[in-house]
Symmetry: C2
Subunit: 178 residues, 2 copies
């Protein structure tokens, strides 16, 4: 049985459970449902769709207007999805360039380092604020528990990161200006 080769393909199959969609639709749906924490580009989508059509995980319907090609998940696709989803999830992948920077901060002027840290902190604070606003909207909507769960993950992450940022100057014995 052909297996789902990667998380991206699996995500597409997951979305297709809701009904046939074109590649374009899938990009939009992914952006809406998982875009906040899982990027997925057009190129990838069309590549994975072509691959999955070849291995029989999806079928292509009749071309509609504007060359629109609806893809539908097959029983094989559902089985492959179930298999992927049932297996142990892959390891988390977390790369924070700032950690690399800090590791070598001995070779960076202190003021520049502070500026970078401040900039990064601001970006995270901004993201947290956005998440919290999204959350306020989501909690009032029924049937959005799953999106709320992922959003809460993001919120927890950003809060942890911000707390870490605040502990940084003391840890690295940097003088906070003013």
């Amino acid at each position: 049985m052909p297996a789902v080769s990667n998380a991206t393909a699996a995500a597409l199959l997951g979305l297709l459970h809701d009904g046939p969609m074109s590649g374009w639709d899938l990009v939009a749906a992914a952006q809406q449902r998982i875009g906040e924490f899982w990027t997925l580009t057009q190129s990838q989508v069309y590549r994975e769709l072509a691959r999955m059509a070849q291995t029989g995980l999806v079928t292509v319907g009749a071309t509609g207007s504007r060359d629109r090609k609806p893809y539908a998940i097959t029983d094989l696709g559902r089985a492959a999805f179930t298999e992927w989803v049932t297996a142990d999830p892959a390891h988390d992948q977390i790369r924070v360039p700032l950690l690399l920077l800090i590791q070598f901060s001995g070779h960076i002027p202190a003021d520049r380092l502070l500026a970078i840290i401040a900039g990064e902190r601001a970006r995270h604070a901004e993201r947290l604020a956005r998440y919290l606003m999204d959350e306020a909207v989501l909690v009032q909507q029924p049937g959005e528990a799953r999106r709320l769960a992922t959003l809460r993950f993001g919120i927890g992450y950003e809060q942890a990161v911000l707390a870490w940022f605040d502990s940084l100057p003391a840890l690295l014995q940097l003088d906070i200006p003013q």
Copy 2:
């Protein structure tokens, strides 16, 4: 001036600030200093070293025993490193397959989902425990502030993740067995 093309190359240059090392040494040093949060494989190391030797960021010394080739950072390399380190860091890259899974949890049997969640939670708890042990050792060593800072990031992250895990069953309205 040739620039550092990616974070991996920059990391190698950072390590080479401490003195000439062979590719093998660099793999080991990276594992030791940044391995916890930034993977770096042999293939990458040799590729980047060859590239950087070509662009003059490092020089190859005389081949020693066992074909050992010491690489040393050049002034050009130091300049390129400074440039990289001074620029705004790239975006964080975070991919948590479990979030994808939860998004599509409607197509997963509840008991299986619970088992996966429990398994992931255990993995994170284990990692946190390991970090905390490492921390206990590190805080007593002088001059390890930078590694401690990155370790604290990991600790904060794992704690946030664990808290999130504990909030999950209620959020998804899963019945906790027993």
